[in-house]
Amino acid sequence: MPVVFMFSGQSSQYHQMGRELYDRHPRFRMWMEHCDEIAAPLIGCSLCDLLYRDGDKRTPFDRLLHTNPALIAFEYSLARVLMEAGARPDYLLGYSLGELSAMIVGGALALEQGIEFAVEYARVVESEGPPATMLAVIDVPDIERRYVGQLAGCWVSARNFDRHVVVAGTVEAMKRLRTMLTRDGVAHQVLAVNYGFHTEMQQPLETRFMALARNLTVNPLRVPMVSCSDGAIYDGSADAGGWQQRLWTTFRHPVAFDTTIRGLVDTGDFHFLDVGPSGTLATFVKYLLPADSTSRFTEVINPSGRDIQTYVNALRSMGLDAPQWHEAMVPSTLAAAVGVSR
């Protein structure tokens, strides 16, 4: 069954994400510190300090300058250790910012460039993007019709599955919408993103975005990518102009996760692996798969903090031997770690 690595976007991050893996998986820690070494001079502080020293997972972690590189570092490091354990993605799928992680893992962008781009774009958004609120709204598939009068200054920025959409808009407009949703008893949750991604609020940033994107050196992709904007599969011709435009489309226009996944599973069965910190994309897939589907979905890490167990389960779901974790990778685990006759 072809394996799809899925990389989640903004608001899937939290303090202490992957903490147990960072403490006990030497290679995960090494890759995180490698990314930290790249990011630290750009943001003026240590990513690993931000993530693992201060705050628990309930402490707000929503400053774009920090969360952008942190998510990419985390997703890249997690993908690397999965691949080092023998996992081989057949497709890469990036949700919003996850598109950058996918490009890096697929070899289209150098890690250094990807992190730098994420940091530079965060600076542009922080300096020029008007503040906004992003809201996950549950159980109102026809939100545009039901709240037609309340949606001025708001846009649907993502469709995750039928009963789960994201709405983004100005702080004022979203306050009004939330009042109505609360009145109607509609479940909703504010996301840890303070800008209106995937809406018209991004439009004024296009020039500066494209100026940054033009500096990217894009290499041929080694693994095909699935676009969450239109569901198309890109096999990776290195047409830099096409890549720039596609990146902008990804950040500017709504995420169509629902139709992207449905389009894929219409063509066959897939194993969807959520290589983000929250397992949200695996959950979305769960709700998107038809009842009789034999496609599978797995999270690699989730916010419970039991990272090793979740990670090992994910490896096993792909038929891979996972080393038994003790307090650390001590010699006694060698038999299990390399005890393979394959």
Binding site: R24, P26, R27, R29, M30, W31, E33, H34, D36, E37, A40, P41, C45, S46, L47, C48, D49, R53, E84, G107, R214, N215, T217, N219, P220, R222, A238, D239, A240, G241, A328, M329, V330, P331, S332, L334, A335, A336, V338, G339, V340, S341
Partner: protein, 391 residues
């Protein structure tokens, strides 16, 4: 020092083309296209293609050099260039003129771009000796060392399948494997056909002897007189001995100042690493401490992981290096000791887990370059020698 392939980026050269209109026009005449447009706009997305990358870098390096001489009035005491950059070092030493050098580079770029059946990858945090030992152990005889950039950064080059096979081998402890996006296996045996054609091309020309010493990629020593044809042709399929080149230069003077001429700072970063590694090697911790670290095989994480962001990297690198070397030698020793005392078929037991009576099926061997292990009968797995005792 002049950088080589990998330092190119759109926009490089900036105002230099307008500052040197005559040289720019000469370059256009040799190349048959606008070098300024290629470097600044790259409208046809060619800058990443070897046959375009090499002339573009040569021109930007050369104009940067002339600009620097103009601005400072200083001339260098020594010259060196990384791979393609060596042509700029020889140009600065007046072995040939600007146009001749550009013609050579154009030819070289064309020949190298025709080799499209290879791949390259960088391996970081392993020593060259470790890499060569592991390649030998795994029977990857077709993989060559393309660049030895720093004591802990090596680029390998060879057939696509062999380079891909290296990925699994070079991911242990803090060793990083990074595939590179090159069109071919530069500086490897696969480039021998290109070398032969380039040599024939070089032989038709006359070169002056260097007026300033140029440290050669091939030998990490100064170019002898009359060696240009041989050195430049062999350089195509030989290791770029950059780490040795820098060490050679550092040994010539305590206060050797290194100036990178061209776009970017890739060589400057390498020198920082080389100096850090040298400084840290001079101040290694006491052997007892290193022994303890190796003994527990604990995750090799920087001791200052929670300290400020920029500092730990260097420490981590050096920690990894000393621990690596130590563990590598210790593993070899353990294997030799074991095999001298325990023939295949020895009954053993595990000291850490209840596996019952075990019987070895192979001699002990070094795995991953640093783990002393033996394959166990009926268990389908390797056991670390540290956890075994004779039954």
């Amino acid at each position: 020092m002049f950088p080589g392939q990998g330092s190119q980026a759109r926009g490089m050269g900036g105002i230099l083309f307008d500052a040197f209109p005559e040289l720019t026009a000469k370059a256009d005449a040799v190349l048959g296209y606008s070098i300024k447009e290629l470097c600044l706009e790259d409208p046809r997305r060619e800058l990443g293609k070897t046959q375009f990358t090499q002339p573009a870098l040569y021109v930007v390096n050369a104009l940067s050099y002339y600009k620097r001489i103009q601005d400072t009035g200083e001339t260098p005491d020594y010259l060196a260039g990384h791979s393609l950059g060596e042509f700029n070092a020889l140009l600065a030493a007046e072995c040939f003129d600007f146009e001749t050098g550009l013609k050579l580079v154009k030819k070289r770029g064309e020949l190298m771009s025709q080799a499209t059946d290879g791949a390259m990858a960088a391996i970081v945090n392993a020593t060259r000796e470790q890499i060569e030992a592991l390649l030998k152990e795994k029977g990857l005889d077709n993989v060559d060392i393309a660049n030895h950039n720093t004591p802990l950064q090596t680029v390998i080059s060879g057939p696509v399948a062999d380079i891909a096979a290296c990925q699994e081998i070079f991911q242990f402890d803090r060793v990083m494997y990074v595939p590179l996006n090159t069109s071919g296996a530069f500086h490897s045996r696969l480039m021998i056909p290109a070398r032969q054609k380039f040599e024939a091309y070089l032989k038709k020309r006359k070169f002056a002897k260097p007026k300033i010493p140029v440290i050669a990629n091939l030998t990490a020593q100064a170019y002898p007189n009359d060696a240009i044809v041989e050195y430049l042709s062999r350089q195509i399929h030989s290791t770029v001995r950059w780490s040795d080149t820098i060490h050679h230069l550092m040994a010539l003077s305590d206060d050797m100042a290194f100036v990178e001429i061209g776009h970017g700072d890739v060589l400057t970063k390498m020198i920082l690493k080389i100096k850090q590694i040298a400084a840290n090697a001079a101040a290694e911790p006491a052997p007892a401490v290193r022994g303890a670290a190796a003994e527990t095989a604990a995750p090799v994480s920087p001791p200052a992981a929670s300290a400020s962001a920029t500092a730990p990297a260097a420490d981590a690198t050096v920690d990894a290096r000393s621990v690596h070397n130590d563990r590598f030698a210790r593993a070899e020793q353990k294997v030799a000791d074991w095999n001298s005392r325990h023939p295949v078929g020895t009954g053993v037991k595990s000291l850490v887990a209840e596996y019952g009576h075990l019987v070895t099926r192979t001699p002990a061997m070094v795995l991953f370059g640093h783990r002393a292990a033996v394959y166990m009968e009926g268990f389908n797995g390797y056991f670390d020698l540290d956890e075994l005792a004779a039954a």
